[in-house]
């Protein structure tokens, strides 16, 4: 692994271990943002700039703000609880299963990987002449897979409506009964 990626990966590992062990929730929320920023750096190194944008803006930015907003509702420190065995066993088993699953994946950057021989060469060769959009990622997401993206936008909309209905928030409008709820 190249040294920069190794460094980022080790920093990411250290950050998530600290987050898991911290009892101070404010520090944990800030460190979660740092973990997202490190992940975004890794994505940039892997040439996945689109994903890095999203990770930096959502993971490091917006979700940290939302964590802090949620923290203002509760106490700043996690309650001390006795360490239980069963949850640890489940977590370790799940993690081991996931790592076992990665053994079957092609090595990072492997040119013989299936993904580089099925569909991808066709898309790289034909996107430009078919629809004249230089960014193949955008062409796939917006045009070839337009249905999927439409579904995703509807999902985001639904999530927003759900949050608005459950939490209400600023300027909540009157219900039919005419009472205004301040929440």
């Amino acid at each position: 692994m190249p040294p920069v990626e190794l460094l980022l990966m080790l920093l990411l590992l250290a950050t998530v271990i600290v987050v898991a062990r911290l009892k101070d929730l404010f520090a944990a929320a800030m460190l979660t943002g740092i973990a997202s920023l490190l992940a975004a750096g890794l994505f940039v190194l892997m040439d996945a700039v689109d994903v890095a944008f999203t990770e930096a803006a959502v993971g490091a930015g917006v979700s940290t703000v939302l964590f802090l907003g949620a923290l203002s509702l509760t106490s700043r420190r996690e309650k001390q609880e006795q360490t239980r065995i069963l949850p640890i066993v489940i977590v370790v088993a799940t993690g081991a299963a996931l790592i076992y699953g990665t053994w079957d994946m092609p090595a990072y950057g492997d040119p013989d990987a299936v993904i580089h021989h099925h569909l991808a060469p066709d898309l790289i060769a034909e996107t430009e002449e078919k629809i004249h959009i230089p960014n193949i990622v955008t062409a796939i997401l917006a045009s070839f897979r337009g249905y999927d993206t439409f579904g995703e936008v509807v999902v985001i909309f639904t999530a927003g409506v759900g949050v608005a209905l459950l939490l209400g928030g600023l300027g909540l409008r009157r219900h039919d009964s005419g009472t205004e709820e301040e929440s």
């Binding site: 917006v62 907003g69 917006a142 909309f157 949050v163 608005a164 928030g169």
Partner: protein, 166 residues
């Protein structure tokens, strides 16, 4: 005299935020409209745009942001983004193509301009919907009160301590 404990009274943060927010918003627009050529697109642009506005709210107060983007406006824009996306698809059907087949938007040529038009329009819909949804979620979190009956024990993130229903 109060010590400048709140973010809004810290001059360094205020000055930096004032300089950064327009750049972030401009970058959001760049990512939005340059999405067919460079990395990016509606989702990323919407998130960046909303994050810029949230930084504004964190430093200058959520009331200042509400004067620009009201809660009702975010709700309307959420729906408008989805409808814009869907409308492009339906328009393509009326012009003789399949749902979301942008080539039909431009029947005169072989469809390249239609693809450009369609992609720009639907990416705009995605960007509007995503930005508005994130703003709406932020608004939902920002003024939740710990005791739930309106009076804040401690000011929530970005909220004025004394405002709201007395």
């Amino acid at each position: 005299m109060r010590p400048p404990s709140r973010v809004r009274e810290m001059p360094i943060l205020r000055v930096i935020a004032r300089a950064l927010v327009p750049v972030i918003l401009l970058f959001g627009l760049y990512v939005q409209f340059h999405g067919d050529f460079g990395p990016g697109g509606g989702f990323q642009a919407g998130v960046i745009f909303a994050a810029g506005l949230i930084i504004f709210a964190l430093t200058f107060g959520v009331e200042a942001l509400r004067q620009v983007v009201s809660v009702v406006l975010t709700e309307r824009l959420m729906a408008a983004g989805v409808l814009l996306y869907g409308a492009v698809g339906v328009l393509a059907m009326f012009l003789g193509g399949e749902f979301l087949n942008y080539s039909a938007l431009d029947p005169l040529t072989t469809g390249h301009y239609g693809q450009h038009l369609g992609i720009i329009a639907i990416e705009l819909g995605v960007g509007i919907a995503v930005a508005a949804t994130i703003m709406r979620v932020y608004y939902a979190f920002v003024r939740r009160r710990p005791d739930g009956d309106g009076e804040a024990r401690k000011p929530a993130l970005g909220a004025e301590p004394g405002e709201g229903t007395p």
